[in-house]
């Protein structure tokens, strides 16, 4: 067995002061504890002794066998057009935000699992609620142009108003890697 001494400090008020560092590894807990007391007096750790932690490891044991997601993933976000972003806000609902360069405001919020984009038109579909939506962000007064559970009514509306015969639905994932996130602020 080995005993790892690390410093893992998280500042609740200022994340810029977070500090994590590996210090040493020891062959016994007693040696690790002695090390902890020694390092607790050093400038970097003084006043934050509670962040000096001792962790036990079995040699050749593989940690994190399930992998990890924390800190890597956020709820799904997609840049629909230059000025439209769609984001999952919880396990079920998505929100679409319009940023016209002057103002940012939400034009849709609801439970949907699929979306399609055709030019400036956003189509949304929920299999859970059975609803279809057509969103036109450029419409002056009513951006949600249609909301219906009638698939035929929805198809007819798209054909009549936008010349659309069909659309390719994309499933809205639950999570996306943080490094792949478009801007959202």
């Amino acid at each position: 067995m080995l005993y790892e001494l690390i410093f893992d400090y998280w500042d609740e008020d200022d994340p810029n002061k977070d500090d994590t560092i590996f210090i040493a590894v020891y062959s016994s807990y007693e040696l690790a504890e002695r090390g902890r007391k020694k390092f607790a007096k050093q400038p970097r750790f003084k006043g934050k002794e509670e962040a000096l932690e001792i962790w036990e490891y079995e040699v050749n044991d593989k940690g994190w066998p399930e992998g990890f997601r924390q800190g890597l993933y956020e709820y799904f976000v997609a840049q629909l057009t230059d000025d439209l972003i769609m984001k999952k806000i919880d396990d079920n609902d998505v929100r679409i935000k319009l940023d016209d360069g002057t103002n940012k405001y939400y034009i849709f919020e609801g439970e949907v699992e699929f979306y399609a984009v055709s030019g400036r038109i956003i189509l949304l579909k929920s299999e859970k609620t059975g609803k279809f939506y057509c969103i036109d962000p450029d419409h002056k007064t009513k951006k949600i142009r249609i909301e219906t559970k009638d698939k035929e009514e929805f198809s007819a509306y798209l054909k009549q108003n936008y010349g659309m015969d069909s659309c390719a639905w994309t499933e809205i994932e639950q999570y996306v890697l943080k490094k792949d996130l478009p801007g959202w602020c």
Binding site: E4, D18, T20, A24, V25, S27, W64, G67, L72
Partner: protein, 65 residues
């Protein structure tokens, strides 16, 4: 006595995590390859693994501010 510490993440970004301590470089590397190819998180950031040879019970360091 030396040991090989396999970790992932970046210490400067405060997200480094110890995967384990291994008796040989070969074993550490084998685990790294396994994790890099299949486990969520690790396979998404395959370049952030690190294997370091460390002397056990060596702690003659001083940490300034």
């Amino acid at each position: 006595m030396y040991i090989y510490r396999l970790s992932h993440g970046c210490e400067e970004e405060n997200n480094e995590k110890t995967i384990g301590y291994f008796g040989s470089w070969k074993k550490a590397r084998s685990v790294m390859k396994e994790y890099r190819s299949s486990l969520p998180g690790f396979k998404d950031y395959p370049k952030e693994f690190s294997i370091k040879k460390i002397r056990v019970n060596e702690d003659d360091y001083y940490f300034y501010d």
